[in-house]
Symmetry: C2
Subunit: 365 residues, 2 copies
C-alpha cells in the first residue's frame, strides 16, 4: 500500500463519490450492488519483513445488498460513506461517537434502527478505511487525543505559528489529526517518547529537551493515533532517530511494539502510524540490577507473564536482545515502572540514566 | 481557611521547617513528639453555606511518635515532610508515585519497609496538606494532567509568553500546577468548560471561542486538579462567569458539582479548587424533549439511578431546578451524552444549542 496520507481532501472526496457512483451504476444495470472489503481477521494480518510493519494481506470479501445476512451492513456502509463525504466536503471533523448519534435513526415504516449501538458503526468505519485505502483522519473522523509535546520545533497549524519550545510548563496538546501541520523549523537531534505523563513533566521541568536538543513527547499510556502519526511524520520527514521509554513490563513493551510495527487492530494503517526505525531506550529488566532498583520492583501478575510469552512469539521482537529481556522477566517474575528510577534520586532519569543510555547508544532494536 | 495558594515557596518551606523544629524541641524537652492532623472522615466534612463550598470542620487528632499504633505513620509523615522540604527548596516537582519510590526502603537492621505500597504514602500527603494548611501543588507534588485550553488569553509561564489563541488545532495542555502562571492578557467574556475532548475539538474547530469571545476548556472527564485550579483562578482574578457542559447523567452532574463546590476527598482544598459561581449550561434531561433528542438517549443503569438519588441529597444542588432535572431522570430512567446533540447536526452544539442557552441565559444554578 502506498503512502496513504499524501492524498488531498479533494481526492478523498472523489474516492467516496466514486464508491457511490459504482453502486448506482450497478443498480441501474440490474446487478446486485456490492462493495469489496479487505478481510481483517488474524488470517489476513501479516508481518511484512521488508517494511517491518504489520499489514493486511490481500484477501477481500464482497458485501452485497441483496443478501439477507449482509443487507443491513451494506446499508450501514453507505450511510457512513455518505456521512463522511459530507464532512470532508464541508471540511469539518467529528468524533466517531458523534457520527454514530448523527446516523442513528429508525427507518421509516419499520422498527429497524440504522444502528443500535456504536459497536455497530465503529467497524464500518474500518471497512471504509480499508476498502477505499484511506484513513479515518482523512475521512475527518477523529479519535481521542491525549499526547503532549515540547522541543525546539516551530509548526504552522490552522494559520497559527506555534513554537514548541515556548509553551511554559504546559507543552502543546497533540490533536487527533496532525496531517495538516506544517513543520517550519525542526532543530532537534532525536525524539524521546515517554509513556508516562509524570515522566514527561519531570523531563520537561529539567528542560531535558533543551539540554539534549531533542523533541520530547509524552503519550500518557498507549499513544493516540494523532501522537503515533506525529512521531512517524517527524521521523520520516526530518530523518530523526527516535527512542521510546516505557515501564519495564509486558504492557510497556507492547506500547513500544505498537509505535514501532503497528497493531493488529490497525494493521491497515501501519504504513502511516508505525515507525519501524524507533529504538527502545528503557526500562529493561537488566536495568533493574544495573541501576540497583531491586527494592523498587513489582511482582509480575499472571496476566503480565502471559503477555510476555505472547511477546516472545512476535516476529518483530525477534531479536536476541529482546528475547533475553523477556525471558529474564519470565524467570524473575518481576516488573518495574519508570518511576522506580526515582529510588536513585528524582533527577536520576534526566541526569544519569538517559544521558548514559544515549552516550553508550544502549538501545534495544 | 484563608486563601492558601497566595503563599510563596519560601513560606511553604518555612512551614515544613517549623514542623521539623517543633518535633525536635519536643524530643529535646523529653516530650512525646506529636503532629496535629485534621480529621477527614465524613463526620468532619461540612458544606459551608456562606462560601458554598465543601470544607473540613475543626476536629483534629494527634499523631504520636510513642504510640505503637501511630509510630509508623508518624515516621512516614516526617519522611514525606522532609522529602517535600527538599524538593521545594530545590524547586523541582515530582509525581506522588515518584515520591513513593524515592522514599521506599527497608529500615536498617530490620525487615520493616518505610512504605510497602503507594496506598500508604498517598494519605500521608493529605495529612501534611491539611496539617500545614498547604496544598500538594505547593509541596511540589504533581497530579496527572489532562485538560486543554484555547481562547483569547496570553499567559507567561516559565519565562515563555503563550498565546492561547494561536495554538492551531492543538490548544495548550494544562499542566498539573498552574500557580506560577501569570495572566498577561485576558480578553474574554466567559469560560466554557466542556467534559468531553471530542466536544472541545468540535467547538475549537468551529472557533467557538473566537466567535463568542470565551475561553474554552476541555477537561477530558473529571477535571484534574490543575484544570480546576485554572478555572478558579480565571474566574476569581478576572471576574468571569463560567459555564459547564457535561453529559446529562449523574456522573456528568457530579463533575459539575465537583467543579462548583469541591469534593469530599479534597474538602481541605475546596477553597482553592472549587468555584461556586460556575453555572450549568447543559445537558439537562429537559433538553432531550426540547431539542428532540428522544431517539438518542440511553437507558440509565441501576448505578446511574443510585447516584442520582445521592445527588438529590446534596445541599449544594438543593435548588428547585436541579431537583426537577434529577427527578425527571429518575422518573424517565434515561440519560444522554453531549454527542446526542449531533443527531440534530454536527454544528448544532456550536451554532444552535450553546448560542440559544447563552442568549436566553438558560443556566442551572
Amino acid at each position: 500500500m502506498k503512502r496513504l496520507l499524501k492524498m488531498s481532501r479533494k481526492e478523498v472526496e472523489e474516492k467516496l463519490v466514486k464508491l457511490g457512483k459504482k453502486i448506482l451504476s450497478e443498480i441501474e444495470s440490474g446487478k446486485n450492488p456490492s462493495i469489496d472489503i479487505p478481510i481483517r481477521s488474524l488470517s489476513n494480518i501479516v508481518f511484512d519483513e521488508k517494511t517491518k510493519l504489520l499489514k493486511l494481506g490481500d484477501k477481500t470479501a464482497k458485501r452485497y445488498f441483496f443478501n439477507v445476512a449482509q443487507a443491513k451492513s451494506f446499508m450501514q456502509t453507505l450511510l457512513v460513506a455518505s456521512f463522511c463525504r459530507d464532512i470532508v466536503k464541508e471540511d469539518i471533523h467529528t468524533s466517531i461517537r458523534d457520527m454514530y448519534y448523527n446516523l442513528k435513526r429508525t427507518l421509516p415504516n419499520s422498527e429497524e434502527n440504522t444502528f443500535d449501538e456504536q459497536a455497530e458503526s465503529d467497524p464500518i468505519i474500518v471497512d471504509l478505511e480499508t476498502s477505499l485505502g484511506v484513513l479515518r483522519e482523512q475521512l475527518h473522523l477523529i479519535a481521542d487525543r491525549k499526547g503532549v509535546v515540547a522541543g525546539n520545533v516551530v509548526i504552522e497549524d490552522r494559520g497559527d505559528e506555534i513554537d514548541w519550545s515556548k509553551l511554559g510548563s504546559g507543552g502543546w496538546s497533540i490533536p487527533s489529526a496532525v496531517e495538516d501541520i506544517k513543520f517550519k523549523k525542526v532543530k532537534a537531534d532525536f525524539l524521546l517518547i515517554i509513556e508516562k505523563n509524570a515522566g514527561f513533566e519531570r523531563l520537561h521541568e529539567d528542560k531535558f529537551w533543551k539540554k539534549y536538543n531533542c523533541i520530547l513527547i509524552g503519550t500518557g499510556g498507549q499513544p493516540a493515533r494523532g501522537t503515533r502519526r506525529l512521531i512517524k511524520r517527524l521521523v520520516l520527514e526530518h530523518n530523526l532517530p527516535a527512542y521510546v521509554m516505557t515501564d519495564s513490563d509486558s504492557y510497556g513493551w507492547y506500547i513500544y511494539s505498537v509505535i514501532k510495527s503497528g497493531s493488529m487492530a490497525l494493521a491497515h494503517a501501519s504504513d502511516d502510524l508505525g515507525t519501524p526505525s524507533v529504538k527502545f531506550i528503557g526500562l529493561t529488566i537488566s536495568d533493574i540490577e544495573k541501576y540497583g532498583l531491586q527494592k523498587s520492583t513489582i511482582k509480575a501478575t499472571e496476566q503480565d507473564l502471559k503477555r510476555a510469552k505472547e511477546l516472545l512469539e512476535y516476529p518483530w521482537l525477534d531479536h536476541k536482545e529482546w528475547k533475553r529481556e523477556i525471558k529474564l522477566m519470565l524467570q524473575k517474575k518481576i516488573k518495574a515502572e519508570i518511576e522506580a528510577l526515582s529510588a536513585r534520586g528524582l533527577k536520576f532519569l534526566s541526569e544519569v540514566y538517559l544521558p548514559e543510555k544515549l552516550e553508550k547508544k544502549e538501545f534495544l532494536p
